[in-house]
Amino acid sequence: MEEKLKVDEVIERYEGDKANLISILQDVQSEYNWLPQDVLTYIAQKLSLPLIDVFEVVTFYKSFSLKPRGKHLITVCSGTACHVRGGHRVLEEIEKRINIEPGETTEDKQFTLETVNCLGCCAIGPIVVMDGEYYGQMNTRKAASLLEKYSKKDED
């Protein structure tokens, strides 16, 4: 199976060392965009780890996702500097618009919403990152229009 080959490749890269579990999961996730359960079971077997240990790690760290993520990843910076400049209002606007909370994906699998504790780009806060592209000095208005732009993009 092709999927397993990919996972094998990652595990190989880390010499099958269970101490590298987090790195392995990170690399696997960047392949799949999320961590499907059968992949986790396979990793546990290959590293001779109880599945529960793998789950423990996956559920502890914020960056791992046990659910498929949407086509577009929206990351809202919730750092303090963004917050004092109104970043929370931007987040709330996005939540309202696409009707999901951070960590969730829209039903149509278009958007996944996440927050990050700080991107360290405080000078241009509030910041929203859409598919890796930085949008600085956001407000509720611009957030709404950004979402619209991306929704439209997909229709075209």
Binding site: K18, A19, N20, L21, I22, S23, L25, Q26, D53, E56, V57, F60, Y61, K62, S63, F64, S78, G79, T80, A81, H83, V84, R85, G86, H88, R89, E92, E93, K96, V116, N117, C118, L119, G120, C121, C122, A123, I124, G125, I127, Y134, G136, Q137, M138, N139, T140, R141, K142, A144, S145, K149
Partner: protein
């Protein structure tokens, strides 16, 4: 290019010399900042543009590009520095590249438009060293970011890189290195400040043949990014520090644990490790010393607690990042149970510096307890956002005001938050604190990793506490019950407070919980997690109380209380978002109805309100606030143009007579509210005209008489009786009114007495007081004004007097003399601008010393120039006279406008009322009741000179108290959260409309058209302009979640 492995220290030295020589041959560089924040602002495109220009014009020989990490001045990104002069160009666009190359690099000509403009002086600054942001810094570490391309080890070698490592391997024993580090006084830059030398010593002495080194780059504090900047911008200096540490301790393996959110840092460090390996600076038998050392990179997976060392080690081991009990400390039992030394990025970066330049040199920087420099990220409400490196012990004031350039838009500094979620908020009173580990801890915060988040008056302290509690509750690993549940409970309590559901006793409960969490949690997260709560309660208890008791959020942030900042900030809670939304939809009449519902003087407010609502409008965060007063005026004018509905006399349902003394805004508002409640109300006015200051104090070019009269007519039509020429003390008395059967009295006589300057010559002929002057002008009396008029003061009375004088026929020149700068001037900004536009001269930073007279008649004034010193209690910088700068201004008339106070001379023995030393009537601030039963007071007579809208608010509130009093109820006020009364659907916007951030300029008469007349200057928005502006409103009233459904 393949790098050859260096087998000896000598080989490294030769290579270094060769590279340094090659580098020295190139005299000028274009140093392009391209760290993460630069890239977020488009620096990658700028870099590409430079490369394209060089290629296109075959300038490879003449133009040397150096693409570096961050230059620290985030505000100015993308920026370039042209060496050797260090010309600094900021906020570049790709289009600028060609001009910079052609003009500056090739012809050494400066391009003024790309220079940094100092917001304080307005001057363009050419060189980096002269920019205030850089001037006061001591950039030991950050300056090297400019010197190297982080992706090139050769760059690092060329500036003397790995010299410290050579020195250690060649000449120093481990003990000597430890001794040197100890002597330098270096302490942990991760925040706790543990002496680094001691830490190393402990790990070196620990038994065990396998030892580890860790670089903690899990920079999790929001608002702190100095570690990222170092890793991205100069990774080799960190590697060098780590290798030295490993050698000293005897470790053969090291780990750099980097936050996963820092992809560029991971990239650059990975490249650096590979390059160091190629040269044999990592790996087996480093430089022939027999010392073996490898470094691996671990990427964090998004858990704040992993910044805690025991949790971080668990994470490296591939486990969930839960902390464990100390002791044993990592130096004894760390990673996989082996002795481990863990230091923060910035600490490691200091090591090569200390070894190269010596502990003696290093320990001369800093203060007695803490040595060296510390990098802070100065962010939030600050003009110069960026990374600043300063000697430890510098004061907060120096960092925030001198380097940071103060608070944007001249707003008031409120607090600075240091230390991230484990730190606390430090208030204005402590700005002179030196920044070091001990002092900050004593102040209830911590140094932490170096985040400094500056907050201004628009930041709510309760909201900040909630923010950090929310952060910590999500990041608590859950191992300790007190941290897991305690922080959650604190979060719930603070959330309740922020939503207007706070109860008495909540603050005490929070304090108790905070102390329990602090005392009973195992790791730093819980132990310091209470700091944000405890420090904010310690310094801002009144703000918590405002939320709990009065349901007020002074910063207008807490959604659950404020609904929208404009409505909440308006003293009479006018439903701004509602009427603005109605205007946006073209429903102008309804908009006017919404305004009238809360405001008995809509016409007046639409002309002269100081619009505190606009100050808090969130649209200003990315542009300009909504022109709320302009829109109100549009609605009012629309009503005037159409048929204003004539008010029907209100039905009198009660028979307790009420006397209102004074017909200014407070008296009018109270009377209108009381007739609406069915009381018979009579206003007694001392003058022959109605309106108080509105009539005699405000010139007609700001408030036309017709506008005022329209408002007055509505009030009269509603049934309010007004008796003029009835002066309290002369024509009427309080006892007399009670004897005449009045059951309650509201005193709102205003503040009509001008203050004196207390300098000689004040009583000479030709010296007037501003109120007398304005009254005479407004009542159309003859005023004897000379050709040259001076006005002393900076408030509204001064500007009104100056502009009125300017309009008089025989007046040729008007000068305002004000002791501070335009920024500190209390007069309304738009009026100051108009005055300047009209040609009124304003002598800023000038204070009068003597009035010059001849034969008892004014001939001029002697002044002295001032400069601004330290910030005083009013939050403004104090003017200090400059010796020897005296000069005179020749004048025919001098108008004094330095302030007013109530004139209570008429009150015979104060008629039993309690009066303050500044001549104000004392009242219960919540109910406006005086010490005399049945007597209430409000407006300027209570507060001293204040704004129209505050007076209206006082009148309305007093009316509620009077009603309660007359019904025999308790006067106790009930407070509730702000809400709009109706829902108005938002409008759909085009993309251009979304991007619109400008404040429309109010159409006005040209200065020429204003000469010699008192015609209204502002003309009002056209319908098109008003609708456009109204559509710009962000509709904060719809942001609350409950309104979503």
């Amino acid at each position: 290019m393949k790098r050859e492995k260096l087998k000896k220290i000598e080989g490294l030295r030769r290579l270094r010399e060769k590279l340094a020589k090659q580098r020295a041959a190139k005299k000028s560089w274009v140093i392009i900042s391209s760290g993460t924040c630069g890239r977020a602002r488009g620096s990658s495109k700028v870099v590409q543009a430079f490369k394209d220009v060089v290629k296109k014009h075959n300038l490879e020989e003449k133009v040397n590009l150096r693409i570096t990490g961050c230059h620290g001045f985030c505000q100015a990104e993308p920026n370039v520095i042209i060496s050797p002069e260090e010309i600094f160009y900021q906020r570049l666009k790709p289009e600028d590249a060609k001009e910079i190359v052609m003009e500056t690099v090739l012809k050494r000509r400066v391009i003024p438009r790309l220079l940094y403009v100092d917001p304080q002086s307005g001057e363009r600054i050419t060189y980096k060293k002269d920019i205030p942001f850089y001037k006061k810094q001591h950039r030991l570490l950050l300056e090297n970011n400019l010197m190297v391309n982080p992706k090139s080890i050769d760059d690092y070698l060329a500036i003397g890189g790995y010299k410290a490592l050579s020195k250690v391997l060649e000449k120093m024993s481990s003990e000597e290195v430890i001794e040197e580090i100890k002597k330098s006084g270096l302490r942990g830059r991760g925040g706790a400040g543990f002496p680094t030398g001691k830490k190393w010593e402990a790990c070196r002495r620990a038994k065990g043949d396998v030892k580890y080194i860790i670089c903690n780059a899990d920079e999790g504090d929001p608002g702190a990014y100095m570690d990222r900047s170092l890793l991205e911008g100069n990774p080799h200096t960190i590697l060098e520090g780590i290798i030295i540490g490993a050698y000293v301790i005897g470790a053969s393996e090291g780990f750099i644990y980097v936050r996963g959110e820092y992809p560029l840092a991971v990239e650059n460090v990975t490249i650096a490790i590979n390059q160091a390996k190629e040269y044999g600076l990592l790996g087996k038998d480093i430089l022939g010393s027999g010392f073996n050392f490898e470094i691996k990179i671990n990427r964090g997976a998004g858990a704040f607690v992993c910044g805690e060392e025991t949790a971080l080690m668990a994470s490296i081991e591939g486990k969930k990042g839960e902390p464990s009990q100390r002791p044993p400390f990592p130096a004894q039992k760390g990673l996989w149970g082996r002795p481990t030394n863990i230091n923060n990025v910035e600490t490691w970066a200091n090591v090569p510096l200390i070894i190269s330049k010596g502990a003696d040199w290093y320990s001369r920087i800093g203060n007695d307890k803490s040595k060296g420099t510390k990098i802070f990220s100065l962010v939030g409400k600050i003009n110069n956002t960026g990374l600043v490196e300063v000697p430890i012990g510098i004061t907060l004031r120096e960092v925030i005001y001198e380097i940071g350039g103060g608070i944007p838009d001249n707003r008031k500094f409120k607090a600075v938050q240091t230390g991230g979620p484990s730190g606390g908020c430090i208030p204005r009173e402590l700005l002179n604190l030196p920044v070091d580990y001990e002092t900050l801890t004593k102040a209830g915060s911590i140094m932490g990793s170096g985040g400094m988040i500056v907050m201004d008056e628009d930041t709510c302290i309760v909201d900040i506490a909630k923010y950090f509690l929310n952060f910590l509750r999500e990041e608590s690993c859950g191992k300790c019950l007190s941290c897991r549940e305690g922080i959650q409970r604190m979060y719930e309590i603070v959330t309740d407070i922020s939503e207007g559901k706070g109860k008495e006793g909540d603050i005490e409960l929070l304090e108790e919980l905070a102390n329990v969490v602090k005392d009973t949690s195992m790791c730093g997260l819980g132990q310091t997690g209470a700091n944000p709560v405890l420090s904010t309660i310690r310094y801002f208890r009144d703000e918590y109380e405002a939320h709990i008791k009065y349901k007020r959020c002074p910063a207008a942030v807490c959604k659950g209380i404020i609904s929208s900042p404009c409505q909440h900030t308006c003293p009479i809670e006018t439903e701004v978002p509602v009427y603005v939304a109605l205007i946006a939809k073209g429903r102008f009449e309804e908009a006017l109805d919404v305004i009238r519902k809360d405001n008995p003087l809509p016409g007046v407010s639409s002309r002269v309100c100081h619009h505190p609502c606009e100050e808090k409008c969130p649209a200003k965060e990315v542009g300009k606030p909504i022109s709320i007063r302009g829109l109100k005026r549009f609605a009012v004018d629309y009503g005037l143009r159409g048929r204003i509905k004539k008010a029907i006399p209100l039905k009198q349902t009660k028979n307790q007579k009420i006397a209102i003394i004074g017909s200014g805004p407070a008296g009018l508002a109270a009377s209108y509210s009381l007739v609406q409640k069915g009381y018979p109300v009579t206003i007694f006015e001392a003058l022959s005209v109605v309106g108080g200051m509105l009539t005699v104090g405000i010139p007609a070019y700001r408030l036309p008489k017709e506008i005022l009269n329209t408002d007055l007519q509505v009030i009269k039509d509603a049934g309010v009786r007004i008796q003029t020429n009835a002066s309290l003390g002369k024509d009427i008395t309080i006892d007399g009114l009670f004897n005449q059967g009045y059951k309650a009295i509201f005193i709102a006589v205003g503040a009509h007495k001008s203050l004196k300057l207390s300098i000689p010559g004040e009583n000479s002929e030709g010296v007037l007081d501003s109120l007398e002057f304005l009254k005479a002008v407004n009542l159309g009396r003859a005023v004897n004004l000379g050709r040259r008029v001076g006005v002393i003061g900076g408030g509204n009375a001064a500007v009104d007097a100056a502009r009125s004088a300017w309009r008089m026929r025989n007046c040729e020149k008007v000068s305002i003399i004000y002791r501070r700068t335009e920024m500190e001037m209390p007069a309304f900004k738009e009026d100051v601008e108009s005055a300047i536009e009209e040609g009124v001269e304003i002598q800023f930073l000038t204070t009068p010393t003597r009035i010059l007279t001849q034969n008892g008649k004014l001939i001029g004034i002697e002044c002295i120039r001032t400069k601004l010193g330290e910030v005083d209690e009013s939050g403004r910088r104090r003017p200090i006279p400059i010796k020897g700068s005296e000069f005179t201004i020749d004048l025919d008339t001098l108008i004094l406008a330095i302030g007013e106070q109530p004139d209570l001379s008429f009150l015979n023995n104060n008629q039993g009322l309690e009066v303050s030393s500044s001549n104000r009537i004392m009242v219960d601030p919540e109910t406006f009741a005086t010490n005399r039963k049945g007597v209430f007071a409000g407006g300027d007579v209570v507060t001293g000179p204040n704004t129209v809208i505050e007076a209206i608010s006082a009148g309305k509130t007093a009316a509620i108290s009077i009603d309660k009093y007359l019904r025999g109820e308790s006067l106790k006020r009930r407070y509730s959260v702000t809400r709009p009364s109706v829902y108005v659907e938002p409008v759909e916007l085009t993309e251009e409309e979304v991007a619109e951030t400008k404040y429309p300029s109010m159409p006005r008469l040209s200065p020429k058209e204003r000469a010699n007349n008192f015609k209204e200057v502002e003309l009002g928005f056209s319908e098109e302009l008003a609708v456009k502006e109204a559509r710009r409103c962000l509709r904060c009233d719809l942001e609350r979640k409950e309104e979503k459904e």
